[in-house]
């Protein structure tokens, strides 16, 4: 009984945080059904303008194409980034040596410079190779990120060494240890990495905007940006576009959050 009572502040705290978090989302959902004028009047009640908003959204914008290109870019980035960065992070930690620590440190410097400064030389690089407008050019710069490598390096620190030793005794190859032992054990870390990578790739704006010169390849963030560029902003349609663009990240998170279950440590026993 007393333990039940002690739970109350915890749930109250969670409820407040959740309410604050979801509030703006509620506004976004409601606004997608309202007219532009009502959105500006910050109406908190659902309206009847959803269909009209959809029509004005699709009248000028190819939502399907933008969703497709966003999905291709984000999925491609996430899959490749997880493979390349996790194996590197594993390599840094499991085979760690002073030289590898130094290299890690040098690689981290790369994330410390504002992108606005390196964007133009990067563009030049891809342009020289005729890769402007290609999906490769969008994903290549974000596959290997120091942040993700660091994440896997830090996670690998709690990966028990006994497992590796035991696997070596059993004659498993190094790559097989990574693939068969580390990857399944680190499912929560992969889930977290997948969420943040997908989210970053999905919302990536400046680089795709510059490298995808031809707007036939435009992604959802660009489509949304187009909405705010005109003389007359249709806020209802804008909020609908924003809502649609937010859904994939939410779904991905909702699916992957199941991996954050206490005690889920796979083969580790």
């Amino acid at each position: 009984m007393t333990s039940k009572l002690r739970e109350v502040p915890k749930y109250a705290f969670l409820s407040i945080v959740a309410l604050l978090s979801v509030g703006p989302l509620y506004f976004m959902v409601v606004s997608a059904t309202n007219t532009s004028q009502d959105v500006l009047g910050s109406s908190m009640l659902p309206g009847t303008n959803l269909i009209a908003n959809w029509q004005s959204l699709t009248e000028f914008q190819d939502v399907g194409s933008a969703m497709y290109h966003s999905t291709v870019n984000a999925v491609l980035t996430t899959v490749l980034a997880l493979v390349v960065s996790s194996i590197a992070g594993y390599g840094f930690e499991v085979y760690h040596s002073p030289n590898k620590d130094r290299l890690m440190w040098v690689l981290m410097l790369a994330m410390m410079i504002p992108f606005a400064a390196t964007m133009i030389p990067l563009f030049q690089l891809f342009a020289d190779f005729g890769m402007v407008n290609s999906a490769f050019a969008v994903v290549l710069p974000v596959i290997a990120t120091p942040l993700l490598i660091l994440l896997f390096r830090q996670a690998a620190r709690s990966f028990p060494h006994e497992i590796i030793e035991a696997a070596r005794m059993d004659g498993l190859k190094e790559l097989a240890i990574f693939w068969k032992m580390f990857v399944p054990t680190m499912r929560p870390t992969y889930a977290a990495a997948a969420v943040i990578t997908f989210m970053a790739a999905w919302n990536n704006f400046l680089w795709p905007k510059v490298i995808l010169v031809n707007s036939d390849y435009q992604t959802m963030p660009m489509l949304i940006s187009n909405f705010t560029g005109g003389y007359v902003i249709d806020y209802g349609a804008l909020m609908l576009a924003v809502l649609i663009a937010s859904l994939p990240t939410i779904v991905i998170f909702f699916v992957l959050q199941r991996s954050f279950v206490a005690g889920f440590t796979g083969v580790v026993k």
Binding site: F13, L14, V17, A18, L20, S21, V22, L25, F27, M28, S31, I87, A88, G91, Y95, S97, P98, L103, M108, L109, A110, M111, M112, I113, P114, A116, A117, T118, L125, L140, I143, A144, L147, I149, L150, Q154, A155, S158, F159, E174, P188, T189, A191, I196, N203, I224, T228, L238, V242, A245, S246, T249, I250, F253, F254, F260, V261, A262, G263, T265
Partner: protein, 314 residues
């Protein structure tokens, strides 16, 4: 001090230290390790270090548009900053955001992650998703919502007036202090759930037996949290500290979208100013590159200190 058990792998690691002559197997393994890093290292080298090198050269050049020449003296752009009142102000503003927002956010995220990790908690999926949501919402709607609720006739003023906490409406975004506060609140709102997921992932890698052992030894939940959970989460905490430091010193979105840097540039961040110098104003890329290297050095120094303190294999 505490009798609590923390798994101790240190001796094992030490035995593989550099003092012992490596066996052929160990050497082969070391090479395997390098092979594992290679794809990432090459990609980062080409996609990031090559452009960074170009930017470094650029930072020694002056001139407008694409007609740039090496400056005389070479460090001209770097000394120019010392007289740049706007840049100096953006440095102060950015450091203020860093000092207030990062500790607040990470502590909140850690507490939330710890609560959500409790196996007996109900509706875990709902709580987790709700708290993560702000990170998933597009910047456009988030800044629109924040501007609306902090408008002079917005929701926040309405509530505060109704509760008699203020005498008249506050112009939140129109005054320097309150506008900075709105930016910090915005950052907290948007990134706390994001950082929480790193801690949640990290918590899954904690050996549950250590928590049980602490309980057996009679440690309460708070004691357990500080003496068992936090030490084992240290690698993840270090990661989030470095990440948030980096993110805040390079902060652009909130300054650009929420306040447009106003009033009178007092909420503008360094990266926002860099963007203005390069893409909005009469373009001065040499100076912009120099600014970006100053940001790099600031992040690097802070990250080096954090690594020094937090990256010991103990």
């Amino acid at each position: 001090m505490t009798p609590v058990v923390v798994p101790d792998r240190a001796p094992k690691k030490k035995s593989k230290g550099p003092k012992i002559k490596p066996s052929p197997a160990a050497r082969r393994r070391s090479l395997t390790g390098w092979a594992f890093l290679l794809p990432a290292a090459i990609l980062i080298g080409i996609m990031m270090f090559w452009p960074m090198f170009q930017a470094l050269i650029l930072s020694f050049k002056t001139g407008r548009g694409s007609a740039l020449d090496f400056a005389d003296p070479l460090w001209f752009n770097y000394t120019r900053m010392l007289e740049d009142e706007i840049f100096k102000m953006t440095v102060g503003t950015t450091l203020l955001y860093l000092a207030i927002q990062v500790p607040l956010m990470l502590v909140t995220a850690l507490i939330l992650a710890n609560i959500l990790n409790n196996p007996r908690l109900k509706f875990k999926g709902f709580w987790r998703t709700a708290i993560f949501l702000p990170a998933a919402i597009s910047l456009v709607s988030y800044s629109l919502v924040f501007r609306t609720i902090f408008a002079t006739d917005g929701l926040v003023n309405d509530w505060l007036l109704a509760l008699n906490l203020i005498d008249g409406p506050v112009n939140w975004l129109g005054n320097t202090d309150t506008a900075r506060m709105v930016i910090i609140l915005g950052l907290l709102w948007r990134w706390t759930g994001y950082n929480m997921i790193f801690y949640l992932a990290g918590l899954q890698n904690i050996d549950p037996t250590t928590l049980e052992a602490a309980k057996m030894d009679g440690a309460g939940p708070i004691r357990t949290f500080f003496s068992v959970t936090v030490p084992q989460l240290k690698p993840m905490i270090l990661l989030t500290v470095i990440m948030s430091t980096n993110g805040t010193l390079q902060l652009f979105d909130e300054s650009f979208n929420l306040t447009r840097g106003g009033p009178a540039n007092t909420t503008m961040t360094m990266s926002h100013y860099l963007y203005e110098v390069s893409f909005v104003n009469n373009p001065n890329f040499g100076y912009g590159a120099a600014l970006s290297y100053v940001i790099l050095v600031m992040v690097a120094i802070l990250a080096a200190i954090q690594m020094k303190v937090g990256d010991k294999r103990d």
